[in-house]
Amino acid sequence: MMTKSVFKKALKNPLSKAGFIIIIGVFLLAMFAPIISPYDPDDINVKAILLSPSWQHWMGTDGLGRDVLARMLFGGRISLLVGLVAVGISTAIGILLGAIAGYYRGWIDTVIMRLVDVMLSIPSFFLILAVIAFLTPSIINVMIVIGLTSWMGVTRLVRAEFLSLTEREFVQASRTLGAKDARLIFTHLLPNSLTPIIVSSVLGVAGAVLMESGLSFLGLGVQAPQASWGNILTDGKDYIQFAWWLSLFPGLAILITVLGYNLLGEGFRDALDPRSENK
């Protein structure tokens, strides 16, 4: 299948291989956080406030004496979960609307594409800020809101794929043989547009991880005492000159994770690009 070969090709590129390894690494760390973590992330110790990194606390402790490494590991779970679920939501919406627009065309296409234009014209970070301000800030709301405000790219992509695929011979043939809409969409069109969707989703996760960190940094995302990279960063902001470890480690974690997703996504994109065929 096409996807598999693209994947293989993408991983030939050392940069996207690095991205892949980073993501796998981050995932493993987050997944096995309860086993790896030296402390409970919510274990308060008022006698060990703001200790600098040492053998006992590899990444130091925070303002309530909690181990930063433990909070980073458990915070990683939140960041990745938010990234995946948000992108899952946006991809599902994007595929649905894109498929409808690209397959049926006509007025419904116009309506959906104008809706996309409207959504794209609103700066998404401020839209999300405004929506979260109305809701209770919580991890579930953050996932849903990010998902509901970032489906436009996928919609455009799927629509474009569908527009070109419906003209292809195998689709035309299938239609002539009397295949119904649903069969055409699910067995022919969708599987063949999967690769660009995956690429955009991978890049989307990077955006969602950043968005969650930003919201948590502003106090609108994951709420205390639950750890997330964004709110560990906020805790560190006031003491950056003194307790540098509170800003450095979550900052690096966000940077590396986002970089990983971007490298992998770019790798996919290059592998898909017909002009880079001979490289």
Binding site: G63, L64, L218, G219, D238, Q241, G251
Partner: protein, 558 residues
Amino acid sequence: MIKFAFLNNKLLNRNAKASGVILFLLLLCNCSKPAQDLTDYTKTYPSQSGGTMIDAMTGEPSGLISMIAGESASSAISGNIFNKLLKYNKNLDLEGELAESWQVSDDQKTITFKLKPNLKWADGKPLTSADVLWTWHAVIDEKTGSPYASDYQLVKKAEAPDPLTFSVTYEQAYAPALDSWAGLQVLPEHLLKGQDLHTTAFARNPVGSHYYKLDNWTHGENIKLSRNPSSVLGQAKIDHLVSRIIPDSSAQFLELMAGNIDSMGLDPIKYARIIPARPELLQKLALYKELGNSYTYLGFNLKHKPFDDVRVRRAINYAIDKQEIIDGVYLGLGINIASPYKPGTRWSNPNLAPYPYDPNKAKALLKEAGFTDTNGDGILERDGKPFSFEILTNQNKEREKSAVLIQRRLKAVGIDVKIRAIEWASFISRFIKTGDFDVVVLGWSLGLDPDQYSIWHSSQQAPGQFNFIGYNNSIVDKLLEQGRLELNPDKRMKIYHEFARVLLDDSPIVFLSAGYGLTAIHKRVKGIDSPAPPAGLGWNSETWYIPEPLRRNEISAN
């Protein structure tokens, strides 16, 4: 005057984003050492005039007529521009400011103030008792809508029979009366007559009579004051006061370290950990600590179940380890309290002790109130419903951390707590004014008079009023009413001691701690009383001075 305390309230605005950028840049430039400051700030110099002192404020005042603004940002500036009739001296005794003397009638209902002669506004016009009378009319006017109106509405009759005499008559003797006249800033009638105080340009371009006058106000940047040459109380030493508007406290701290501002309020970590660890900061910054007239508390919404049950409130009080909060959040820079009065003052009842940390007693009380863990999940239930609530607080680091510690202690006795920190303005309008909360962690900053009618009296529960927890206790109501009428200080003290005892027993709030006000001031500023007298560090700020050799280059002073 009573104000909501929201120190270092983080404002969610463009600056929050900007500080994220600054933060990253800082990481990069942290490694470069600043040029060594070789000035010896410990040398003593004779007092001399001149120089500029720069401080920072987190919020910009909405205007400089403080009876309307009702916010600390406004009164911090306007307090340097406008005079009051009376003021508190170093030891918190009242003395005249505009008033030369005052007399209380034998029936205790009339106060007659004699103004100092030859008082002048900064524009040269005479300041007379007519201005005071006009100010009183303004503050009680419904159209003004001043949050401080209630104190002055009790005045039945106010008169200015001659330019130097102002007298007020109350319906009944009113104990906090003199204190209230030490709080009202006198405004010039000749500039404000007939104007709408809410829209007048005067609020941004005021003319006062105090040590300083407004020089320049650059919106969003700074407010500059310069010495008022016709000040009625003599001349302040420092020529210019500049207040820079820096909403983010970490950005303020950077400016303090760089020497671009001279003073700022600190949080315990900056005070006890960061500055002491850096000799180059200690060389130029002096640290001050004073017990403020404020405290932090956990307040219950008494209209919500199960907080209407005193056993539940007491149980939560026993279950919270207050010393842990003082040690862990305030790094020891706080005091355990049992009453809403500053410890050590006459109004604070010395016989009261805070609820000790006793989780077993808490569990027993909860059981008595009908809470048991029927399904073995570690959380107590009553009538099939788990005991679970949300603590709301504003985005204040100390309060958020306190809430986390409380959450952990309450979980240990079987109560499930969630925490939510909300930006200040929406916290007040969305939750406090509507009464839509279960439990809050907040603070009160109090005035010097012991009267706390507006916080605890059952009549003060309307939206926007201060008894938003819905406290309703007829004994407390009666004591508060008596306290306002009693002018004998010893009898008054007994009333408030009894009030505090009932309050502690009833436990409508859990007193968490009284925190120290922590301040850093650049050592170039001399003449500061340390340790701070009862009236506070700034009581004699007009005599603070900056010796010429220590002044910063005036060009960079903006």
